[in-house]
Amino acid sequence: MGSRKDHQRRETAMHVREKPKFGESEITPKSAWLDRRSLMRGAAGLAAVGLLPATARRASAARYSTDAPPTAYEYVTTYNNFYEFGTGKSDPAKHAGQLTTSPWSVVIDGMVARPGTYALEDLVGPRTVEERIYRLRCVEGWSMVIPWLGVPLAGVLKRAEPAPGAKYVAFETLVRPAEMPGQSGIFQVLDWPYVEGLRLDEAMHPLTILATGLYGEPLPNQNGAPVRLVVPWKYGYKSIKSIVRITLTEKQPPTTWNIQNPREYGFYSNVNPEVDHPRWSQATERVIGGSLLSPQRDTEMFNGYAGEVAGLYAGMDLRKFH
């Protein structure tokens, strides 16, 4: 326990040391998240010292961020679905500490003009990282609000230059049974690697990010370190963790939960209170961090991002393409 904390702290220190130009105030300290006003002060401070690009980024980030209070760091980092480390909610926090996340590279291939193996630092330039406070809705009926650090996926994909015929983006998680206990043993719950996919226009949407941190820190391993997808208007399982490959394709790629149970989990998996999971209702959600008596929250269409993303699905039957 203590050693993991130390390890994490070391990582944080490294993160800061390696990227000296990453101004300290650019990443809001954890405590400040509890107070939105101090966040605003931070932004004002940046403007005052003339870090205009950062301020611009902050403004764009604020445009996409929710005002809802973030879920406690403790819950964000101890209540996880990351079946590579076990099926229990606390398994990832228990077992992910041993995962080696540095060095890390991501293969970008398929229908791109510039395929290759990219070092993570080249892919997600630390200086371009933005803060995005997003809602997360799990298909199991609970939700969180998480302050991510990341970059729009669009920029990453553009650098690889998608070919004109590319229509989908496929993602793949690391397979490393030696460090991921859920990938070995008798009970293999899913087929590995975990795979996910988006339509290219979904992947290029400004809300879609590759996250490398949360709460102003590098991503804890249990949250998908060192780099994960975050697509806030889809159920959480679409936001694939610990990504090692991004492939642009012409055909709709296979996705893990859809393979596991095609009737229950579709390719799109947009949050939709009107389309029930076959075994449970999706109309409401339990807000993580609440008490025994907290009222549930009504789940919103596209998880509250309808204004930004509904246009992507104009004319589609969302019951059929669930």
Binding site: Y75, T78, Y79, Y83, T87, G88, K89, V139, E140, W142, I186, F187, V189, L190, Q260, N261, D276, R279, W280, S281, A283, R286, I288, G289, G290, S291, L292, L293, P295, Q296
Partner: protein, 206 residues
């Protein structure tokens, strides 16, 4: 050793076990009120009560094989085990109705008609009601042992449904509910085999 154990078990009073059995219920509820059940306390409380109900059901089903295979007699404790199972099933249901569904009756009715795992869970609960109702000695005397025993065979389908309810509500196939289901299948399978052996031995009695 076995005789010593059985003698000790005979001397052990049953009533303290009702209080001991109630402790986890109070413990989890208290921790829930104190915010110590983690990120999703309603789910945690609901899950714990349901799991304990299933564990008591399984314990009650173990009484007969323990006696016949190992010679350990826990018959005096079986009613307590069954009533504890029923009590935890009541708590599980109450948490679902009050804290999970928050008395939203249209949704509760929708769940009870549309969701197979909830229908199974409710069916298991309803099967336990007449068993709890007829748990007293007076009921046994009134019904007569044959009818009483026949009625109380409802414990078998109730436990089977409870185990399936558990398997059916989770995503994918995690080990825990499958292990419980395997245990229940073994206990019921043992009874089925025993019944067949007995019938083969005493064909005249049918």
């Amino acid at each position: 050793m076995r005789d010593w154990l059985n003698t000790a078990l005979r001397r052990l009073p049953v009533w303290p076990f009702y209080w001991l059995g109630a402790l986890p219920a109070a413990w989890y509820f208290w921790n829930g009120l104190q915010g110590r059940l983690g990120a999703d306390p309603v789910k945690a409380l609901e899950h714990e009560y349901g799991l304990i109900a299933l564990q008591f059901l399984i314990a009650a089903l173990c009484v007969t094989p323990l006696r016949e295979i190992a010679g350990i007699n826990l018959l005096r404790f079986r009613r307590m085990l069954g009533l504890m199972a029923f009590s935890y099933a009541c708590l599980h249901l109450a948490v679902w109705l009050g804290l999970d569904r928050q008395f939203d009756w249209p949704r509760i009715v929708a769940d009870l008609t549309k969701r197979p795992y909830i229908i199974l869970g409710m069916a298991a609960f309803l099967m336990l009601v007449p068993l709890a109702w007829t748990s007293r000695d007076a009921a046994l005397r009134r019904m007569g042992p044959v009818a009483w025993r026949r009625l109380h065979r409802l414990a078998y389908p109730a436990t089977a449904l409870a185990a399936i309810h558990f398997v059916w509500l989770v995503k994918a196939w995690p080990p825990e509910p499958l292990l419980y289901a395997a245990g229940v299948a073994a206990l019921l399978g043992w009874r089925a085999l025993r019944g067949r052996r007995r019938r083969a031995r005493r064909p005249a009695l049918g």
